[in-house]
Symmetry: C2
Subunit: 344 residues, 2 copies
DNA sequence: GTGAAAGCGCTAACAG
DNA sequence: CTGTTAGCGCTTTCAC
């Protein structure tokens, strides 16, 4: 009794003809609109099922202006964090009939802009975005929200000044935890390899780091832009560790870059934590398996994805939730492992 | 001289009115169709640019039956391999104006089926798929290809018997390399934790492993279904290493599962490779950083994505390439590192 | 070379 | 309750 597997193009018209009724009646019946006799409605539904009817989303979209498409902008997919968020979002939206238009930005505001314009053009119902830059594309986002009335929810990052929903982690707190921990372990000479400048999380973490200027031994050469990439972080790490005066600990601003730093340490035959202590932003499955396991502050990407989806969904349902913004800041979790030495 | 950032709904009609010509002329002009005077065409193009016109993809799709949408089915995003493929595909298709509809299947044929039906319904122009199962959904795929005429390109995996393009890796060869290597290192007691049964790569690797039955010490309890998951692999590994008679080496059928095995080894205080040798399918950035670095056969996800996209693109261009199928089998690369001991 | 008209599949007034 | 009509934005005959 297998369901027909080959759903040939069957339109409202086909159903209408088969029952000798008009297309509009069929439309009403199938959409649960009032104004169709119970008996006829049931017949129509039956025929529709038998024929394997599914509405043409293009036609519906054209007419109704709603596409059941959600655009999701992420800098990248590699490296578990954003991948997990996207998976989580997909699971939350899937059963409600929404589909994901995937837009990797590579942290390039220009590519982000292109994607955004296309999403508007495609008439997506909503947009989830981890923006490439905390300043760029501000007016574009505002136009999308205010003029095109497409709900936008930021996650992990945001664009400063854009009034909309978001779910991010407490990056200040994350940096403070890491710093306080290192200090408590006796470290004063502390370096920071931060993510690509311009990214919201990079700016916040850097800003918070700089607030500790006086509590630590501050040295310009120990602060480097790892550009969110494994290679650049590797180079940054190497440079720092080659300088005359070395730090005793380095804070690494993201999981990709942690890989780069570990690679560099390995090549330089540096023992962690004996020769250099390392702590990192973001956890990953392999962090725990490394020798030594890496101490870090972590965010839960699954939760971020779920919350972002939930917020978007409520906007979608409730077009007129008005000005009340849902802005969530998640606590980070501190995972103490073995990558930090105690300094006397 | 910034480009207008807020492209309000501007249609062909708007342009037509502004120049006092008909909509059809504008359409022709903008689509480079013959039958418009050079002068008029230029004017139209200018006005279109000034107004920031972009064709409505829904309307175009409805009319022309082409949507510039590509569906991509992957089991998951976590873990770099498929994430990198998707990124690579996106980069290849992006500049040609194609967008990705992301469909994570979680290796569930039912979810795969749902996604496929929706993709057909959405009238995607093409489908890239790493199918969840080497048998399921065969007739659905065939219907999509033959009846709906939507080109399908399999990557990494395929569905047996479905006549279409694909790009996969040489899994038999991969398994042979691993096995021969272990044997050359003196191993005879070899276990295998394979990916979820039913997945193409799992079946092939298992089949090839079994062909070595007579050249190794074969033991049922050393072969386990790691279900492509970290947890299941961890449990499988633990069980195997608790059995009375232990293998000296274990082949792990995918990168996720490698993490699980390493975790298990750590918990059981097993030293690699002294207590147990490990080799793995698929490489990952962290494989090299582990202590010891993991010996493996690897495929290049970037290349897989690129080839798959290229094939699809040529199908899209050349609807009538006819029966000639492009079926690519990529060589795997063997990366010898330090996770295998030499057994006298 | 250009315009008018039909229609893709659907929804939503407006009439009966 | 049901059918007719119009139209979403675009492409594509078919006339002129």
């Amino acid at each position: 009794m297998e369901r027909r597997v080959t759903l040939k193009k069957v339109s409202l018209k086909a159903i209408a003809q088969q029952l000798n009724v008009s297309v509009s009646t069929v439309s009403r019946a199938l959409n649960g609109k009032p104004g169709v006799s119970k008996r006829l409605r049931e017949q129509i539904i039956k025929v529709a099922n038998d024929l394997g009817y599914t509405p043409d989303p293009l036609a519906v979209g054209l007419k109704r202006g709603t596409t059941k498409l959600i655009g999701i902008l992420v800098p990248e997919l590699k490296g578990d964090f954003f991948a997990t968020i996207v998976e989580s979002v997909e699971r939350a939206l899937y059963h409600l009939g929404y589909r994901l238009l995937l837009c990797p930005t590579e942290d390039d505001p220009k590519k982000e802009e292109d994607h955004l314009k296309i999403l508007v053009n495609q008439r997506v119902d909503g947009i989830l975005s981890a923006p490439a830059n905390f300043r760029s594309n501000k007016s574009l986002y505002e136009a999308i929200i205010n003029e095109h009335k497409i709900p936008v929810v930021f996650f992990d990052r945001l664009v400063e000044g854009v009034e909309t929903d978001y779910v991010i982690s407490d990056n200040e707190e994350g940096m403070r935890i890491l710093l306080e921990y290192l200090i408590s372990k006796g470290h004063r000479k502390i370096g920071f390899i931060h993510p690509l400048r311009g990214i919201y999380t990079s700016e916040i973490r850097l800003k918070t780091f700089l607030e500790y200027k006086d509590k630590i031994v501050f040295q310009e050469e120990w602060i480097k832009d790892g550009k969110s990439s494994e290679e650049d972080a590797k180079e940054a790490f190497t440079t720092i560790m080659r300088s005359k005066e070395k730090p005793t600990a380095i804070i690494v601003g993201s999981y990709h870059m942690t890989l780069g730093c570990l690679r560099a340490a390995k090549e330089m035959m540096l023992k962690i934590p004996e020769d250099i202590s390392i702590v990192s932003f973001d956890d990953a499955p392999w962090n725990e398996i490394f020798e030594p396991p890496i101490t870090c502050v972590s965010q839960d990407p699954r939760e971020i994805g779920l919350i972002a989806s939930t917020i978007l969904l409520s906007r979608l349902k409730n077009k007129k939730m008005g000005e009340s913004r849902i802005q969530t800041v998640l606590k980070v979790k501190f995972l103490e492992r073995l990558s930090v030495a105690f300094i006397k």
